[in-house]
C-alpha cells in the first residue's frame, strides 16, 4: 500500500513537469507558478507521508550511508546552491538560469561545498551552539 501511494506521488510529480505547457509568456509564467509553487505540494506531501509511514521499496536505498549523508547535508545544499548557480551562470554566459550541462557542474559544486561545510563548519558549530545555548 505504501509503495502504491509512493508511486502515485512520483507519477503526480512527473506529470506536473511533463504535462503540456501553454504558449504565451504570461500563460506560461502563471502555469509555472501554479505547478511549481502550489500544485507540487500535493505530490510532495504524498511522497513524504508514504516514506514516513513505514518501510517502502526505496527504504534500502535511503538507508545507505551515502543517502543518509546526502540527507545530513541537504540543508546546506538548499541554502548554498544559489552561489555556484549564479557563479557558473555569470562566468559562462551571463545568463540565469543555466543550461542542463552547466547544471551538472552546479549540482556537483554544490554537493562538494555543502559536504565540506557540513563536516568542517555546520556540525562543529551545531555541537558548540547546542552546548552554549542549551539549558
Amino acid at each position: 500500500m505504501r509503495n502504491v501511494i509512493l508511486t502515485a506521488g512520483f507519477i503526480a510529480a512527473i506529470a506536473l513537469n511533463i504535462a503540456p505547457w501553454p504558449t504565451g509568456d504570461l500563460a506560461y509564467l502563471a502555469t509555472r507558478q501554479l505547478r511549481y509553487d502550489v500544485l507540487c505540494m500535493i505530490p510532495f506531501t504524498i511522497i513524504i507521508a508514504a516514506l514516513a509511514a513505514g518501510p517502502t521499496l526505496l527504504s534500502p536505498i535511503l538507508a545507505l550511508r551515502p543517502s543518509v549523508f546526502l540527507g545530513d547535508i541537504s540543508y546546506g545544499v538548499y541554502i548554498y546552491h544559489w552561489i555556484p548557480w549564479t557563479v557558473v551562470a555569470i562566468a559562462i554566459d551571463r545568463r540565469v538560469p543555466v543550461s542542463n550541462s552547466q547544471l551538472v557542474i552546479v549540482i556537483f559544486a554544490t554537493i562538494i561545498f555543502a559536504a565540506a561545510s557540513y563536516i568542517g563548519y555546520e556540525r562543529p558549530m551545531r555541537l558548540y551552539l547546542r552546548r552554549k545555548l542549551g539549558p
Binding site: 510532495f44 513524504i48 548554498y80 555569470i90 555546520e122 555541537l127 545555548l133 539549558p135
Partner: protein, 61 residues
C-alpha cells in the same frame, strides 16, 4: 524550495509533537529554539555573507 517547505513542516511536527503536546513551557520551547538556531543559523549566516560577497564581487544584481 516547495519540497523543503513541506518537508520541514513535516519534520518539525514529527519531532516536536509529543514534546509540545504536554504544553509549551520555557524549558521545552528553549530547547527547541537552541536546537533550531544551532542547526539552521551557521549555514544561514555563511550563505548570507557568501551571497552578499558574490553579488558585490560580480557587481551584478
Amino acid at each position: 524550495m516547495s519540497f523543503f517547505f513541506v518537508l520541514s513542516g513535516f519534520i518539525l511536527t514529527y519531532r516536536y509533537w509529543d514534546i509540545f503536546a504536554e504544553g509549551m513551557d520555557r524549558g521545552s520551547y528553549g530547547r527547541y529554539l537552541a536546537a533550531h538556531v544551532a542547526r539552521v543559523y551557521p549555514s544561514y549566516v555563511l550563505a548570507l555573507v557568501g551571497i552578499t560577497a558574490m553579488y558585490a564581487l560580480l557587481n551584478w544584481s
